[in-house]
């Protein structure tokens, strides 16, 4: 056994040590309670130490006490307000102040990269708030959570355009896209937890929305990574960067596959009807069922198969790293994932309806009409996610709908 094998043996030891998930969660709650109580004490300490400091200044400089008293009051009150606002949740009185503070920080960012990073961070705040709202006993938590999911969805969808704005500086583009991708891994775990909490609470629609936001986040990350790979300087050997990006894209496909698999299992358990592993069907208006093979290069007929095909394609690309097709592989995955988002929406059973969903005729229909058709199907819930292949999903992204 050589050194490398020996080290990998040592690394494998960690798989033997499994932490009890319920302990992990219950202890987290205890830990966060401890944080709240510890730092509430701190606020009192700041208050008393500030008062002592001001009194000593008054004595030292013989300056009228009332002026310092007023300043101290404003200072302490503002500090406490900011601190409370940072912990506020949607529906709380200070929540709009928190959002204003975030917007101000974005507006005052020194450069575009810092601004994008802040927006990514604040999207993470919304995800944290979602978890807290779901655990709270707020009466209207379903609505608050739904609004938050919509906000998360919108924030994440806007990312590719923000990254494109960094295009002038390739290094900045690369680091921002990678930073966003790292955050998406972190946010995915949080969204998965939120989805589980919503599911346990019997909030079926919200669970679907969260799962969709999860899938969209991962897909958007692929889109931003795609922008990087499209901008790689071909005159320089960038095999390491390419491999890194393919690894990241592969991880995103895996993430989506996991949520699709687990949803399929849960649907199968609840209804005995495994939707995800069926070919999606569409009512074409003539009461005929048409298999919608979502546009993937592998041509698999179910979502799970299509995602597996994408993964295999990425692995092949990694092997043929020097090949010039690298960018087109990522591009294909990016486009396929966009379609996957649409086709994943019918996690709920696909109910044949009498409403006619007319496939778009790209020759005769204007861009606006196409978007309106798509929007109409989403909003009406009719043909939930059954989008004909001819729709240009790209336009959905760029308009943040």
């Amino acid at each position: 056994m050589n050194e490398k094998e020996f080290i990998s043996k040592i690394k494998s030891l960690k798989s033997d040590i499994i932490i009890n998930d319920s302990f992990f969660d219950s202890n987290k709650e205890k830990f966060l309670n401890c944080v709240s109580s510890e730092f509430n004490k701190k606020e009192v300490n700041i208050k008393s130490s500030n008062v002592a400091g001001f009194i000593s200044l008054i004595n030292r400089f013989k300056i009228p006490g009332f002026a310092f008293g007023a300043s101290a009051f404003v200072f302490v009150t503002f500090g406490l307000t900011v601190s409370a606002a940072l912990r506020s949740l949607p529906g709380d009185p200070l929540y709009s102040f928190k959002i204003s503070m975030e917007n101000t920080r974005v507006a005052m960012a020194f450069d575009d990269e810092k601004s994008v990073n802040l927006q990514v961070e604040f999207a993470g705040n919304r995800i944290d708030e979602l978890s807290m709202v779901l655990k709270s006993d707020k009466a209207n938590k379903n609505k608050l959570a739904t609004d938050l999911v919509n906000k998360i969805d919108t924030d994440l969808s806007a990312m590719p355009n923000r990254v494109v704005a960094l295009n002038k500086n390739k290094k900045s583009l690369e680091s921002t896209a990678k930073g966003f991708d790292n955050k998406i891994n972190e946010y995915s775990a949080k969204l998965k937890n939120a989805s589980n909490v919503a599911s346990d609470a019997g909030m079926g629609d919200l669970t679907k929305d969260i799962d969709l936001a999860y899938i969209k986040g991962n897909s958007v990350s692929v889109k931003t990574l795609n922008i990087v790979i499209q901008n790689i300087d071909s005159s320089i050997n960038n095999d390491v960067l390419k491999k890194d990006i393919i690894d990241r894209v592969e991880k995103k496909v895996d993430n989506i596959k996991n949520v699709v698999d687990s949803t399929a299992k849960s649907v199968a358990n609840n209804d005995g009807n495994d939707i995800i592993n069926q070919s999606p069907v569409i009512d074409d208006g003539e009461n005929k069922n048409i298999n919608t093979n979502i546009n993937t290069n592998g041509g698999g007929s179910t979502l799970a198969e299509q995602l597996q095909d994408m993964k295999e394609e990425l692995q092949k690309a990694k092997i043929g790293l020097a090949s010039a097709d690298m960018a087109s592989v990522i591009n294909n995955v990016d486009k396929s994932l966009n379609n996957t988002i649409i086709s994943t929406t019918p996690i709920a059973p696909i109910i044949p309806t009498t409403t006619v969903i007319t496939p778009v005729n790209t020759n005769n229909t204007g861009e606006k009409d196409k978007k309106d058709d798509v929007k109409m199907q989403f909003e009406s819930g009719v043909g939930y996610g059954l989008i004909h292949n001819d729709y240009e999903i790209e336009s959905l992204w760029s308009n943040g709908e």
Binding site: I7, L13, K41, K42, S83, R87, E186
Partner: protein, 172 residues
Amino acid sequence: MKDDVVLKLKMGDTSAFEKVYNDFFKKIYQFVFFKVNNPSKAEDICSEVFLRFVKFVHNNDVDNVSAILYRIARNLIIDDSRKNKEDLVGDENMELIKDSNELNFDDKYINNESLFLALSNLKDDYRDIIVMYHINEMSLKDIADVFGKTQGATKTMLSRAMGQIRESFPQM
């Protein structure tokens, strides 16, 4: 970005603490488990590590979150072993160690159990550095912060620790 997290921790931002918990709890648990070899004891110590971390952040400057967590964990394990020495290595494994007069394992028999025993038999610092570097995948810089040494000295210590554990497997 790291500075942002530290700033948020100092402000008592629960989302920053939650991130620390999510990022480090499992690693600290593994680290503690290798020393106490007892799931419920490891859970107790880990829980205490994170509660003490909150108090530490409240009262002190924070520069390296992971180093602070590992330092607290090491101190708590030492305290615990002083109180109850037999818990340091589980009874079952103690018997196994006693049975194997010398921890020499044949190459083809290197399995997780023999490796675990070999690790248990190392001196504390050596076991800690192997767990931190190879199992918890910490950087040498962070490990150096935990031990209060330079990166060069930490690298040398890691190399010695690996040499020591390899001696338990003379066939390699």
